[in-house]
Amino acid sequence: MTSRRIAGKGRFIDSSSKVAFTFDGRRLTGHPGDTLASAVLGAGQVIMGRSFKYHRPRGPVAAGPEEPNALVELGQGNRFEPNQRATTTALFDGLYATSQNRWPSLEYDIGGINAKLARLLPAGFYYKTFMYPREFWKDIYEPFIRKAAGLGKAPTEKDPDTYEHVHYHTDITILGGGVAGLQAALTAASGGARVLLLEQSPHWGGRVMADGGEIDGKPAADWVAATITALEEMDNVTMRLNCMGAGVYDHGYLLGYERLRDDTPSLPGPRHRLWRIRSTRVITATGAIERPLSFAGNDIPGVMLASAVRDYLELYGVAVGRKVVVVTNNDDGYRTAIALKAAYVDVPCVIDARPLGGGPLMREAEAMGIPVERGRAIGKVKGGQYVEGVAICSHDGSGGVFEREIECDAVAMSGGWSPVVHLWSHCGGKLTWDAEQALFRPDAKRPPTGADGEGFVLPAGAADGELLLGDVLGNAHDAGREAAKAVGKTAKVRRRPVAVSVAQAPILPVWMMPARAGYELRSKAWLDYQNDVKVSDVALAAQEGYQSVEHTKRYTTLGMATDQGKLSNINGLAVLSDALGQEIPVTGTTTFRPPYTPISMGAIAGEARGKVFQPVRRTPMHDWHDTHGADWEPVGQWRRPYAYVRRGETVHDAVTREVKNVRQGVGILDASTLGKILVKGPDAGKFLDMMYTNMMSTLAPGKCRYGLMCSENGFLMDDGVVARIDEDTWLCHTTTGGADHIHAHMEEWLQTEWWDWKVWTANLTEQYAQIAVVGPRARTVLEALGGMRLHPQALPFMSWTDGQLAGFDVRVFRISFSGELSFEIAVKAGHGPALWEKILEAGAECGIQPYGTEALHVLRAEKGYIMIGDETDGTVIPQDLGLNWAISKKKDDFIGKRAQERVHMADPDRWKLVGLLAYDDAVLRDGAYAVAEGRNANGQRNVQGRVTSTYYSPTLGRGIAMGLVHDGPNRMGEVLDFPGTDGKLYRAQIVDPVFYDKSGGRLHG
């Protein structure tokens, strides 16, 4: 392999110094400023990857983000990243790249056998082949497809880099920093509007950097430099290179994707930054992408877009071949021929599909001695792993006879230009077909609209379908003025820049080359390179009845690869239109969806990973738990101790010990996470009567009542103890997970239904630490602290009182979720840890021990108390749980009352709560179903109940469970079968759900 560098060329590179990198294990060198693609090409290698389906050898076809072929795996270890485009990867010292989708090597790939089977792998192959027999899916088809699917491998290690989001508000955002974007920015900012200008590549100027031209009497590159300077001097302009406009969304929201450290991984700082922008107006100056031509062998490495050939030559000093044939249907292709010839690269001929050829650019090429073949086409490209020549024929024919062969090692093709309308279209901007230029352009009359109903996106330059330099600049100037006006500013720049545009002869739309190519040629003419979709596949889809372009896309996979059809969309839908015998605009385009090119998962996540993915809520006693063996359990955003595990114990041992200690002595629980919502006001009682199924207005101050809360649908959504504080104040306890949404639920009704009621709510959950002291010796412990009187007459069950314990102001509730004598002590959050320690000290003599959430669950289940989320799942009403006693019959109305009167809710056939005792003392599996006779339509056993809570009960020394069973309460003593997923059958008897202390004597002690 020999260098393909051309001395004196390469605007973007510094040819005086070298950069070392590794490609497929080989040490290569490039220059600072190279892309990976230009460096590998410069080193003389064209093949960079294999196609997805047929594993055909592929080289780069483009030089920018539209590249479908040159996808590589970058980096190693924890910086490994698949499917990166070599054409947009900036070269740096030490870059490590590996080609993908090939084995064992790029040159010799086993999967290439698929190409030999191409006739057996037509469009819709998977659908046709893998449908039947059904049972083949799991073991044969799916593993095969999974193995074949995807290009690069997924990374396996944790990403060591950091990423960030930035929120940005501005008047005008301009996407694209070519001459159109620069001119639009200059004009728009001149009136004082705040302008953000984003360019996806590392360079300003866009196409003129390769194609040149003259603006305001100076070389275009000089004009670009001067404009950059002018913009940089303006305080109201912010500019970013390496920052792609990724998506345009509702109401002027857009995403910018900035790559900061891809080529400098050793520097500190975030690797990527996601800009979350709100912009009053957006200008899409996103340029245009050249289209390939569909001729046989157009995917052989060395066949490239004519514009890419110019880019590699002018920007990176790389000649893609020594003998380059140019094939075109428009005048632009001649620019490539002229540029190559001027750099002393042999151009054997330009093949122009137009019978009369082109305009001034053609004549310039001819004057340089380049032969032009008018009305001719490439019949086929000769070669396998590289181009060896082309066979030419008449364009207006079937390609049955080749006139002659021309030896060459590269082909530059130009099929015309397609404006990059993606960002215009993301949020609903419509397109119109410009038949004269053969392209879809934004329809100015149907823009994406914002909150005010006005269009908020303005296309500019080539993105608006203007392809001549002078038109590009004028159009961009107008867009800048209009955007400035829309944000209330008047642009001070009034003059359109003057550019010399070379006149061009009309394009001849060419969707297949030659125009009536037979099957043999069509089946070698690629539309979608990455997914291996050919002209013949789209034609076959049409023949099989596919008419919608969206359906055809999915059937053939055209445009579904990582490049999202940037090169293939227009050619593909033109072929479909042709096959269906209809005009292109009738077929229309597929939907353009963000992001424009793939963005990293890291950028999407931003800072939200690891510890800051979600805030962790800590109770005041969190640190104490942490240093005392807490086995943490996430409960919503809280962390709660599941159990406090001692040395030598298993978690199960610890739970058993904690339960026994509560039943026999005294335990202490951090109950701070329970919701505490204060409800106050003259109408608070009336309001709570609507919120709860029970009557809360009649609760006496100083008393507590267990309450149920239902949704308007009638389903049980939360429970908890309500304490009446004074005449117009209630304190509502909610479940741990319910605090925020129950507060929101109350506010919703207050604000939107009963807004004239005088009620105020406050969520005090985090203002108080709450400590439960539970067990037969609980009172002894608290009395040892000194302070308030807690004997049964002073504080009977279901009452509360304010007072002092160990010198702290406390509110003590005598309520129980364990069936034992129990006090819940609320204290200001800041006093929580100190009081907790005092209680432990005072309780040491009684053997006090902390207990966690699992012991709490076991204790409540032994008593048959329900748990929201275990016994309820959003389809369960209180009546199902035997809680009719907590549903007021005196109230005219409460949330859920009307719903509970509906036929299905009042149906006696519902599943209802029972206790379950498994045979052989087994512990039933949570969620296990009790089977009934017969089978359902899917052949599954019918069911008649399920387990909702199941534990080993240390108190009873056996497994206990609760469950919902069809007509359960009337079937006491019956035995149910619970087939286990382990293949065994578990049997359990229906019993009363209260397993322990049915009389409640301990509770009232």
Binding site: Y249, D250, H251, G252, Y253, R278, G428, T449, G450, A451, D452, G453, E712, N713, A744, E747, E748, Q751, T752, E753, W755, D892, D893, K897, R898, A899, E901, R902, V903
Partner: protein, 111 residues
């Protein structure tokens, strides 16, 4: 990613600050109502392509509920107004009539 001006606190709120609350101006039917009225209240919803009235809550802002009139097709917002009302303010109805002549929504709009 819509934006609405919260009529309570005046902030131009991003969709990430807001919680959607479904259709606005539902009349609650409680105990004593017919099955038809009740299921209409609980389950039947407009699904217009065009003018719509919705409830939103400025959840990560002032916490207040408000109403919004907008076009589901173009996402144009005709106005926002406080939730403490059973019908949209006349001013907003006039705005919609001006921008969408002949519009209807439930019993509102062109007769």
């Amino acid at each position: 990613m819509l934006t609405f001006r919260c009529p309570v606190c005046g902030v131009d709120a991003e969709e990430t600050e807001l919680s959607p609350g479904g259709e606005a101006h539902l009349k609650r039917y409680g105990p004593g109502s017919s099955d038809e009225d009740f299921s209409g209240y609980l389950f039947q919803r407009e699904n217009p392509r065009g003018v719509h009235f919705e409830r939103w809550r400025h959840a990560y802002g002032c916490g207040k509920w408000f109403h919004a009139a907008r076009c589901t097709q173009t996402l144009e917002v005709f106005g926002t107004y406080p939730a403490q009302t059973t019908e949209p303010p006349q001013e907003i109805l006039d705005t919609i009539t001006k921008k969408r002549p002949g519009w209807t929504w439930r019993e509102l709009g062109a007769k």
